[in-house]
């Protein structure tokens, strides 16, 4: 019996020739990522070493990445103090993959990792963030863990007691219609699987549509795989992956890639034809509450958000700029744009997207998590409704349990900004 992609990655990371679904393994970790919650990891790391007489040194500082993104620049003295402690720790431990609050190299963790070539095909990547699944877009087995688990990784260099997950194969074929794309595909899939349909499982994406999809689109679908409960979403690497790593991430030298075995065993196979898919909307308050846009058009929205690790990349901003060029954001609606990284911000600035959006009335926020979790900017008022290209619409997301959040693609968000109500982009934003 052959192995799925994840089984192959895990076998290699354990120095074994074969692993099977359900085996308990302790793979080596190639990259361990944290953001502001690194401060909690530091605390738990110190607890592990307490009373051992052993010097608390990270097993391999070159494999740790810390990116400040959740509350940047700091919104409170408490956050600023946590961030300061992280800086001191980073300096002491010699962590080089550290991205501070800077306009030249900062951004959201899930954007920085691919952009800087920190993630490669075949890597085992863990992050203290549930959307670490994003990095499956580059052929890594990447999943979210808690802070104590991360402290254990910092100490030991491997992740303990991992049960090899089962895999659901998702075959996607057909050409996307105009104004429909990767975000609609993943929303549709989550609706079909439900919020726990892939719990403890991996989603492995295949098919002609995926092969033709850019790494940006793949990041969107892998990012949101966790919303179906998946441990990880993975696109087996191909030419596109290699091109991204060379041209965007600037990696030189040979990169080895492989796919799953032909006779790999899957728990389930799902076939999707996107040629008739329309824009999809996740309605409050669960991500699997998916409806076709037609069913919610006309719903008034007070805030529109384009950004986040899900849809804050250059192509997303380009889409929004194309739709909003020469138009205005509706009165009574605020539009917030937060690019996923400063590199994207700068490119969007050079290409003129940011000025188009600002002229339309959008507020360009600095890259970071910002409104996505509403801790720090872009919080909603009571009984307000937001439409966002982010990935979660749970009650209380965007900072207010008395507000509601709908999730959509950049196309829908931009078209709706013009009208002030949820709108179908295929109708020309009317």
């Amino acid at each position: 019996m052959g192995m799925t992609y994840v089984q192959k990655v895990l076998a290699k990371a354990c120095g074994k020739s074969l692993v099977a679904h359900g085996d308990v393994v302790e793979p080596e970790v190639h990259l361990a990522m944290s953001h502001e919650n690194g401060a909690l990891v530091m605390n738990q790391f110190a607890e592990i070493y307490k009373d051992t007489g052993i010097d608390a040194k990270i097993w391999n500082p070159d494999r740790i990445a810390i990116i400040l993104d959740h509350r940047v620049p700091a919104e409170s003295s408490k956050t600023a103090t946590n961030q300061k402690k992280i800086r001191e720790f980073v300096a002491k431990q010699g962590i080089k993959k550290f991205h501070d609050i800077r306009g030249d190299e900062g951004g959201i963790c899930h954007q920085i990792l691919p952009e800087y070539g920190y993630v490669r095909p075949g890597y085992v990547v863990v992050g203290t963030d549930s959307h670490t699944t994003s990095h499956g877009a580059l052929g890594a087995f990447a999943f979210g863990i808690g802070a104590t688990e991360m402290a254990s990784v910092w100490a030991l260099g491997n992740i303990l007691n991992v049960e090899v997950p089962g895999t659901i194969k998702v075959n996607v074929n057909g050409k996307f219609p105009a104004y429909v794309g990767a975000k609609d595909l993943i929303l549709y899939l989550i609706g079909r699987l439900t919020a726990e349909g892939a719990n403890f499982k991996v989603l492995e994406f295949h098919g002609e549509t995926i092969r033709k999809m850019s790494t940006s689109g793949r990041l969107t679908i892998c990012n949101m795989s966790v919303e179906a409960g998946a441990t990880s979403g993975i696109v087996p690497p191909d030419e596109e992956t290699l091109n991204y790593l060379k041209n965007i991430a600037g990696i030189r030298g040979k990169i080895e890639i492989y796919g799953p075995d032909k006779d790999a065993e899957y728990e389930q196979v799902i076939d999707i034809d996107v040629s008739r898919l329309g824009p999809q909307i996740a309605c409050p308050h669960t991500v699997d509450n998916i409806k076709p846009v037609e069913e919610v058009t006309g719903k008034k929205v007070q805030q529109i958000v384009i950004g986040s690790c899900t849809n804050g990349r250059l192509d997303d901003l380009e889409t929004a700029a194309n739709i909003l060029k020469g138009k205005k954001v509706a009165l009574g609606t605020r539009m917030l744009i937060f690019p996923a990284s400063w590199r994207i911000y700068q490119e969007a600035m050079k290409k003129g997207y940011l000025s188009i959006l600002a002229e339309a009335g959008a507020v360009i926020c600095n890259p970071g998590c910002g409104p996505c979790l509403g801790i720090h900017q872009g919080a909603l008022g009571d009984q307000e409704t937001a439409l966002a290209t982010t990935n979660r619409n749970f009650k209380g997301r965007m900072g207010n349990p008395n507000a509601e959040v709908y999730l959509c693609s950049p196309e829908v968000a931009a078209a709706s900004a013009i009208t002030g109500v949820i709108s179908d982009p295929r109708a020309g934003g009317r």
């Binding site: 308990v24 919650n37 909690l40 607890e47 051992t52 549930s130 104590t148 009650k395 209380g396 349990p401």
Partner: protein
């Protein structure tokens, strides 16, 4: 034996258990004050010390879905609550085991607030209604961590063993 002090439905996210706006508070000793902060009534009872240790929260499917924030497990651990759910989301379950928060997977559980539950090795017995519901064991890979009392002592022991070699 413990009393059901709170009953909630399916897909209870970490944003409900520990709202994102309190995420700057990190330390396990400080997180309990924000447990279920947006559920005004229950959070008030928790903070007033009206809930006994070992009390039970009964939940539906996919408890703890969403973010990996460990505060969601540590804030409940602070009150030594026991969570009996039809199923848990992966990261939350893992965090709970790592921190020693007791989580019971009980796919058919039927219980209301005020019921008394007896948690046995294989069953949850509802003493109030007479119902008896099978427990699904926690992931086997994690048993050693549970036995060690959490991931910090487990890793500590492992580290010491590696050092001796």
């Amino acid at each position: 034996m413990g009393k059901v002090v709170f009953k909630i439905g399916n897909d209870v996210s970490t944003d409900i258990i520990y709202p994102g706006r309190f995420m700057a508070t990190l330390l396990p000793t400080e997180t309990p004050q924000y447990a279920f902060a947006d559920d005004v009534e229950f959070s008030k009872k928790l903070r007033a010390g009206e809930i006994l240790k070992g009390s039970i929260v009964v939940a539906g499917q996919n408890f703890g879905c969403g973010s990996s924030r460990e505060q969601a497990a540590s804030c409940l651990k602070g009150y030594d609550l026991i969570i009996v759910a039809r199923h848990f989301s992966r990261i939350f379950l893992q965090n709970s085991i790592n921190l020693g928060l007791q989580t019971i997977i009980c796919p058919d559980i039927e219980a209301d607030e005020g019921n008394e539950l007896e948690i046995e090795p294989e069953y949850v017995q509802n003493k109030t209604t007479g119902g008896k519901f099978k427990i699904v064991p926690l992931p086997k890979a994690r048993q050693a961590i549970i036995d060690a009392g959490g991931l910090v002592p487990y890793t500590k022991a492992l580290l010491l063993r590696r050092m001796q070699k």
